[in-house]
């Protein structure tokens, strides 16, 4: 039996109130950390858990914190990435709307670890309800003395600013987020320097995802050994939220161990595919990752197992496609998203995403040429690894996989000027 951790209290509407959260053991970990631990100890414990970032890249959290230089004379900032805009992803929203104090407690622990006294939550502007829930929760935490000067009666000062974005996927990329938080267009920055050294206002900055931070209270309540005991192997540890969407009988944000077998998620937990239809494919980690065909789904949902299959865990935005989905239309809609959201700094991305959408559009509408397919694949290889950030790769990788794995369907579309599956993507 899996023991729920991150979602343990989300069914309790009262847990949004600080008293209820505290009654259930909340803020004990943060108080213990700021009063009894040193920042170095907090970083060591976090390293020992094997916790990897839940925002998409899976970078080890403790290691990221250890890159923050000390004694620079500059302040350190922590930014909680609550931009959650990767298509297929809707997990951070649940934490923020239902258990906001869990996140705030996590931010306190992370801030203490990197000696940050002013942290930011960058929340996407569309999450207006979550914004209000967090705003209230932050007010409660301040009133209790859990935020502000000398929190919990320690010598540690911390405040958290809730900052609303205004609709731009690229502001989820950590340097785009930093630029946006500085009041600019969200244009990602060339790295290095990495944010840990030179981030917000030119100061050392840590960017961590909501779910990553929400793990911290549990880690400091129950220890690194406990955390490591969850998951598929020592490099893929802890609880994980999976956003199970698309053609499922019971779509849901599901919490299980990192590395649960994908078929278990689809069939046992989410009730399988509706209407007795056959599975066509699964996008395991948000729109930016390569699709798995129905034959490839026998895989564990963790960073390394999915990488071994040529795809990524990403944000765990897992979209399930049944046999009625037209892969040409799906690829076109994917490309269109990136064409909409490219920031336009790098020509390969600005032009590549646009052309990709145009060419897929003409195939979808019966005007494609057979040579278009290799042209798109060629564009894909020219869009990868050549730009300031990986939005360009995030467009090329999934489209490339769709064409490579479902090529016959694209060819059918070009030859017959109509869909092979006969129907468009209707539920």
């Amino acid at each position: 039996m899996y023991e729920t951790v991150l979602f343990k209290n989300i069914a309790d509407p009262r847990v949004r109130a600080i008293d209820r959260y505290a009654e259930l053991g909340g803020y004990r970990a943060a108080e213990m950390v700021v009063k009894e631990r040193t920042p170095a100890e907090v970083i060591e414990t976090t390293k020992a858990t094997g916790l990897r970032g839940r925002g998409g890249a899976g970078f080890p959290t403790g290691l990221k914190w250890s890159f923050v230089p000390k004694d620079t004379g500059k302040p350190t900032y922590l930014c909680c990435n609550a931009d959650e805009s990767e298509p297929g992803t809707c997990k951070d929203r649940v934490i923020m709307e239902r258990d906001p104090h869990q996140l705030i407690e996590g931010i306190i622990i992370a801030s203490f670890a990197v000696d940050c006294h002013l942290a930011f939550i960058y929340i996407r502007g569309e999450f207006w309800y979550a914004y209000r829930v967090l705003e209230k929760a932050l007010g409660e935490a301040r009133a209790k003395g859990f935020l502000g000067k000398k929190i919990f009666g320690s010598n540690f000062d911390l405040d958290i600013v809730l900052h609303s974005g205004a609709g731009a996927y690229i502001c989820g990329e950590e340097t785009g987020l930093i630029e946006s938080l500085e009041g600019k267009r969200g244009h990602p920055r060339q790295k290095p320097p990495f944010p840990a050294v030179q981030g917000l206002y030119g100061c050392p900055t840590v960017v961590n995802n909501v779910e990553t931070l929400a793990n911290l209270p549990h880690i400091f309540n129950r220890g690194a050994e406990w955390f490591k005991s969850i998951g598929s192997n020592p490099k893929n540890t802890g609880p994980k939220l999976y956003c199970m969407s698309g053609h499922l009988n019971k779509p849901a944000v599901v919490e299980r161990e990192l590395g649960i077998p994908l078929p278990e998620l689809i069939y046992d937990i989410c009730g399988g595919i509706p209407g007795g239809k056959k599975l066509k494919g699964v996008i395991p980690g948000g729109s930016s990752v390569p699709i798995l065909t129905a034959d490839e789904i026998d895989v564990r949902m963790d960073f390394d197992s999915l990488a071994a299959k040529g795809t990524l865990l990403g944000s765990a935005g897992c979209m399930v496609l049944d046999e009625t989905v037209c892969m040409v239309r799906f690829a076109m809609r994917t490309a269109r998203f990136y064409a909409e959201e490219t920031c336009g700094q790098c020509s390969q991305c600005r032009e590549g995403t646009w052309w990709m959408e145009q060419v897929l559009h003409r195939i979808e509408h019966g005007h494609g040429k057979m040579s278009d397919l290799d042209m798109i694949l060629d564009m894909c290889s020219n869009m990868k690894g050549v730009t300031i950030c990986v939005l360009s790769d995030a467009c090329a990788m999934p489209v490339e996989a769709m064409i490579n794995k479902f090529r016959a369907e694209f060819e059918y579309h070009i030859t017959n000027k109509t869909c092979m599956v006969g129907a468009h993507a209707h539920a």
Binding site: E126, A166, G183, F330
Partner: protein, 173 residues
């Protein structure tokens, strides 16, 4: 109502008309960040919430507050989809048509909304009540398809539910 003199237009008197509550929020935002400019986007969102869209006067006014030129502010706000320079309906609808919603039939939600409003996306209904636009993933994938109305979520939609939402809002006026 208040009249303020703008830094960059010393000769123009601009009528900005923000409520005292909004002015207070502006002052609060400006005090939160190590640099004023960080308050820009949140301030524009608040201004838009009050006035429906970002007016020229608002750009001038906010630019003065964060010590940027109005053209810089214009350039920055044009980057962000949620910030708009034209009026919208009293109920402004974002219709998600991205992948997860598409898989659950957002096509039908889109056509239902267009039919019920009687205007295309991007246009305001004659009574000023409604406008709708297509939107990228709203983060409601496991409860798809979804729309938001003035940033409140409506999820697990079907045609009937969508019609009811529009009817209800129309009744509310």
């Amino acid at each position: 109502m208040r009249i303020c003199r703008i830094l960059f237009h010393p000769n123009s008197e601009i009528d900005v008309m923000f409520s005292e509550e909004t002015e207070q929020k502006f002052r609060h935002l400006l005090s939160l960040y190590p640099r004023k400019r960080s308050a820009l986007i949140p301030m524009l969102l608040i201004a838009q919430r009050e006035q429906g869209y970002i007016r020229n006067e608002t750009i001038d006014y906010v630019a003065g507050l964060v010590e940027l030129s109005p053209s810089e502010v214009e350039s920055i706000l044009s980057f962000y989809t949620m910030l708009r320079r034209d009026p919208v309906g009293k109920y402004h609808i974002y219709v998600c048509t991205n992948l997860a919603c598409m898989l659950r039939g957002s096509d039908r939600i889109e056509s239902t909304i267009k039919r019920k409003l009687g205007v295309d996306f991007g246009k305001v209904t004659e009574d000023g009540l409604f406008s709708a636009v297509e939107f990228e993933c709203l983060g409601s994938c496991t409860t798809a398809p979804c729309v938001t109305v003035n940033n409140e979520f409506y999820e697990n939609l079907d045609v009937k539910k969508t019609e009811e939402i529009i009817d209800e809002l129309r009744r509310r006026g």
